[in-house]
């Protein structure tokens, strides 16, 4: 589906909200999964990211107050993607914080691209303004991740798996 230029503010808010909710859910799932797999370092990193996304969701919900919001089916959102919003399929049980942040950074780049597109094509002034705000927010978030990644430059992958897989059932 291509992005319609004439989307309303309400429509855009629903999209932005869904995008961030999706992101939050993915990160929460990864955090829970890594905690279950005894990797607190990666779990904490995902959890922190998910909290930051949660802040963005609250901001968007605040903007939605008083607006009549349309119902959009989960498959009708304007991003067309295989994997634009997923991160669960890129996780690994031995991943470290650096791997987590790299994954988050890829997600951020996709979000930035999405909001940038809206800024470029939207005809509604308020939509453009909000998209710009969200774009900038993602940009700052992305810069933060970049900084943190620099601090972690020395970390190496330890994906070499010395434990064989387990047999629970």
């Amino acid at each position: 589906m291509t992005m319609p230029p004439d989307q309303s503010l309400a429509e855009f808010i629903v999209h932005a909200h869904a995008l961030k909710c999706e992101s939050e859910e993915q990160m929460e799932m990864c955090a829970a999964s890594l905690r279950a797999h005894n990797n607190p370092e990666a779990a904490d990193a995902f959890h922190l990211l998910s909290q930051m996304v949660g802040q963005a969701i609250q901001d968007i919900e605040a903007m939605a107050t008083g607006l009549q919001l349309p119902q959009v089916a989960p498959w009708d959102f304007h991003w067309h993607l295989i994997d634009d919003t997923t991160c669960t399929d890129e996780a690994h049980y031995l991943m470290n914080e650096r791997n987590v942040l790299e994954l988050a950074q890829r997600n951020e780049q996709r979000a930035i691209k999405y909001f940038q597109q809206v800024v470029e094509v939207a005809t509604d002034q308020t939509v453009r303004e909000l998209a710009k705000r969200l774009h900038d927010h993602e940009q700052r978030f992305s810069q933060y991740i970049e900084q943190r990644l620099k601090q972690l430059e020395g970390d190496v992958d330890h994906h070499a798996d010395l434990d064989p897989a387990n047999i629970p059932e």
């Binding site: 909200h17 909710c21 859910e25 119902q71 089916a73 994997d83 690994h92 049980y93 897989a165 047999i167």
Partner: protein, 277 residues
């Protein structure tokens, strides 16, 4: 468009607090997410919904969804779900499981559920491997896959073709989804729930632990065009020509749904009277 509760229906409300045991990177996370999105979109009451499963990694899914659930025994999810739906026809019944559970140990039930056509949804998370028992070949594993110690030369057996078999067995709703395309998967699940009869969704769901090469699926799976078909002969040809990497609702045709008849009616006392001399 227009109701204001759109944002308020949150898929995550349909999750329990139970943390999945799936490996990070497992495709089943996306299926869990799509199931909850579908339930949220349909606004199904949690207590009127039941998810049932057999045994295997993917069969853990019901515990993670806040609905009624039954984690049964290996291979028997379809009978378990059939019994529930016949006894409680007003419930939304969703059966889930993996390729080994559904196509190997449960293969006979799979065929008969297709032809019996009880109104339910069956989601098979197919990763072409037995994950829970440590990476043995499954019915959908390619004949030459030799990474399992159990079949060091590969299975030497052509893989099971679930969708062709479902078609031959009489299923009227046959779809293939991909864990890397959650939007499409959510739509397929919603359509399956709405379909009156037995609806099969085969989901390509990679196993990062035993089949890491399946990460490439996201570059191979494509949404199929010019479907759904409603002619079984065309569908059979389409499936025979397909490489197994096309996704979407492939075949949809409505058949009579099996449900108990209630033409006869009498009291227990009248039934007992028939024994009287």
């Amino acid at each position: 468009m227009s109701e204001s509760d759109a944002v308020l229906v949150k898929p995550k409300d349909y999750k329990t607090g139970v943390k999945p045991i799936w490996c990070p990177g497992c495709g089943d996370f996306a299926v869990l997410s799509a199931v909850t999105k579908a339930l949220a979109w349909k606004k199904l009451a949690k207590e009127e919904t039941a998810l049932l499963s057999g045994i295997g990694c993917s069969s853990r899914l019901p515990a993670y969804v806040d609905s009624y659930g039954f984690h049964g025994i290996h291979g028997r999810v379809l009978p378990l779900a059939s019994g529930l739906k016949v006894a409680r026809p007003e419930l939304t019944v969703i059966a889930v499981g993996g390729d080994g559970d559904g196509y190997s140990i449960g293969g006979n039930h799979f065929m008969h559920a297709c032809r019996r056509n009880i109104d339910m949804t069956y989601i098979v998370m197919d990763n072409r491997v037995y994950g829970m028992t440590k990476g043995q070949a499954s019915p959908t594993t390619a004949a030459d896959w030799n990474k399992s110690k159990l079949t060091p030369h590969g299975t030497g057996i052509p893989p099971f073709q679930p969708l062709s078999i479902a078609l031959a067995a009489g299923a009227g709703f046959i779809a293939r989804g991909f864990s890397g395309d959650p939007k499409q998967m959510t739509q397929l699940i919603v359509e399956a729930i709405e379909y009156p009869g037995f609806a099969l969704i085969e989901v390509l769901s990679p196993c990062p632990t035993f089949r890491p090469e399946q990460k490439e699926w996201k570059h191979q799976v494509r949404q199929a065009e010019d479907i759904p078909l409603d002619d079984p002969v065309q569908a059979a040809q389409w499936l025979a020509a397909d490489d197994g990497m096309s996704s979407g609702l492939i075949y949809r045709r409505e058949h009579p749904v099996w449900q108990p008849r209630h033409d006869l009616e009498s009291t227990l006392a009248e039934i007992e009277q028939a024994f009287s001399i």
